[in-house]
């Protein structure tokens, strides 16, 4: 099996790597690049813990052959931190509202909410719940998560 060259933008930085054809994106991020903010949960597309943004759109990195991201712009949870080390409004809101318990779903929740707020800066509760429906929280913390997204939308307005 020979590796193939893969070029893409990761959190604003252009990268070129040699990748085995059977590598999944979640493993490239976690194992090869050391970006463990992206979580591997069910690995079947059910839980959404592995959500990344591909050209701004939320997708499951566990179902994505790494070679699919050729030429794309990828954002992981690590990419939200600003150059000065400060956090995004949504991250601050998740902390402020206590919207994280074990934290395993949090990167997926925050990235999905990032895409939502970009598309719809003032979502109602139904729209928030619909947008987050592909990320499961098993600490049953949905109420505070929805509150955090609302708080972030308000803080940005």
């Amino acid at each position: 099996m020979s590796t193939m060259e893969l070029s893409f933008k990761l959190n604003g930085r252009a990268l070129t790597l040699n990748v085995a054809p059977d590598t999944l994106m979640v493993d490239l991020l976690r194992e090869d690049l050391g970006l463990t903010g992206t979580k591997a949960g069910c690995r079947e597309g059910e839980c959404g813990a592995c959500t990344i943004l591909v050209d701004g759109t939320p997708m499951n990195s566990c179902l994505m052959p790494a070679l699919k991201v050729q030429g794309r712009e990828i954002t992981t949870i690590e990419g939200l931190e600003k150059a000065d080390g400060s956090l995004e409004v949504l991250q601050e809101a998740f902390m402020g509202e206590g919207a994280s318990q074990c934290g395993f779903c949090t990167p997926g929740m925050i990235l999905t909410a990032t895409a939502l707020l970009k598309q719809n800066p003032d979502p109602d509760e139904g729209e928030i719940r619909q947008a987050l429906s592909g990320v499961l929280c098993r600490c049953t913390g949905y109420r505070k998560i929805v509150q955090a997204v609302k708080a972030a939308a308000k803080a940005r307005a």
Partner: protein, 307 residues
């Protein structure tokens, strides 16, 4: 035999030797041919990847068709709507053309998996996977859709009613063929549609029952000219309920007509008792309810008065 959870969970590699990304249809077909049946087409990958990881599927190469040109559009073509083989469920659900002229399909596509899944999973893939519970397949059946399939021998057009062969089995061989487009007639002025779905939750759940209806109102606005009724997953393949369709054609649009049609609609239903999807008895009863409600909703949308 399924692998134990831990092994499935942590086994990250797919065991494919090649990942090919063709940039033209002939090139894609050549790549498939070069592997002589040992390669498989991948688009969104939401079905293919879990199958590879659980070793239900073993291939030497994947041919990624998501970068083929001219496959990503939803277009009007005269009275028809043409959906490219690369169109995702998110695209179809958000398309004003589909919402306006094939509302049942927009609704169905909005139910598939999660937003993350809908952003990559294609309608073509939903058909090719051949699952009886496919949210896009059932409305496309009701729309009398036909699909164009490309192979080294050329193109062939297959009506969807002849496409599904069994659970996970269709007339398409994805080791040598590619579904390039889906075509159906846009709904007209005297037509309406409905998509009804029974599931355990409001999101991220497979359907226990899907009923898709396209109805055409009679000129008098009080009768049924014709109706197309598609059902799933209550048999190995999604199917058209022809006896109920024939029963309502030309009849007055009354609650009695709809109730009698619903009673005839269960002849082909053979749902299994399932812990996941409910008992056979329950789902068979719900088929009647959904056929009645689906006809009523589609006729009302078509401008037909029921009474």
């Amino acid at each position: 035999m399924a692998l134990p959870f831990e092994k499935l969970h942590w086994y990250s590699k797919l065991e494919v030797a090649d990942y090919l990304v063709p940039t033209s249809l002939p090139q894609a077909l050549d790549m498939l041919a070069a592997h002589g049946g040992r390669a498989r087409v991948i688009a969104g990958g939401t079905d293919v990847i879990p199958e590879l990881r659980s070793r239900k599927l073993a291939v030497s190469a994947l041919v990624d068709v998501s970068r083929l040109p001219d496959m990503n559009a939803i277009e009007s073509d005269g009275a028809d709507i043409l959906i490219g083989g690369g169109v995702t469920h998110a695209q179809a659900a958000a398309s004003p053309l589909i919402q306006d002229k094939a509302g049942l399909l927009a609704t169905g596509c909005g139910w598939v998996g999660s937003p993350q899944i809908r952003n990559v999973a294609t309608l073509a893939g939903n058909l090719v996977s051949g699952q009886p519970a496919a949210d896009a397949s059932v409305p496309l059946l009701a729309l009398d859709a036909e699909v164009t399939i490309a192979s080294a021998e050329g193109l062939r057009v297959v009506p969807l009613s002849e496409f599904f062969q069994g659970v996970g089995k269709t007339v398409l061989d994805s080791s040598r063929e590619i579904l390039t487009s889906i075509r159906f007639k846009a709904l007209g002025a005297k037509q309406g549609s409905a998509y009804l779905r029974l599931g355990k939750r409001k999101a991220m759940t497979l359907p226990m029952l899907v009923c898709a209806v396209v109805a055409t109102a009679g000129q008098d606005g009080r009768s049924i000219q014709s109706a197309a009724i598609a059902l799933g997953p209550v048999a190995p393949v999604p199917f058209r309920e022809r006896s109920a369709e024939q029963f309502v054609a030309g009849k007055p649009a009354t609650p009695e007509t709809l109730a009698q049609a619903a009673e005839t609609a269960t002849a082909q239903c053979t749902p299994r008792d399932s812990l996941l999807r409910g008992s056979c008895d329950y789902r068979t009863e719900m088929v009647k309810v959904f056929v009645r409600r689906g006809l009523a909703a589609a006729l009302t949308q078509a401008g037909c008065t029921i009474g």
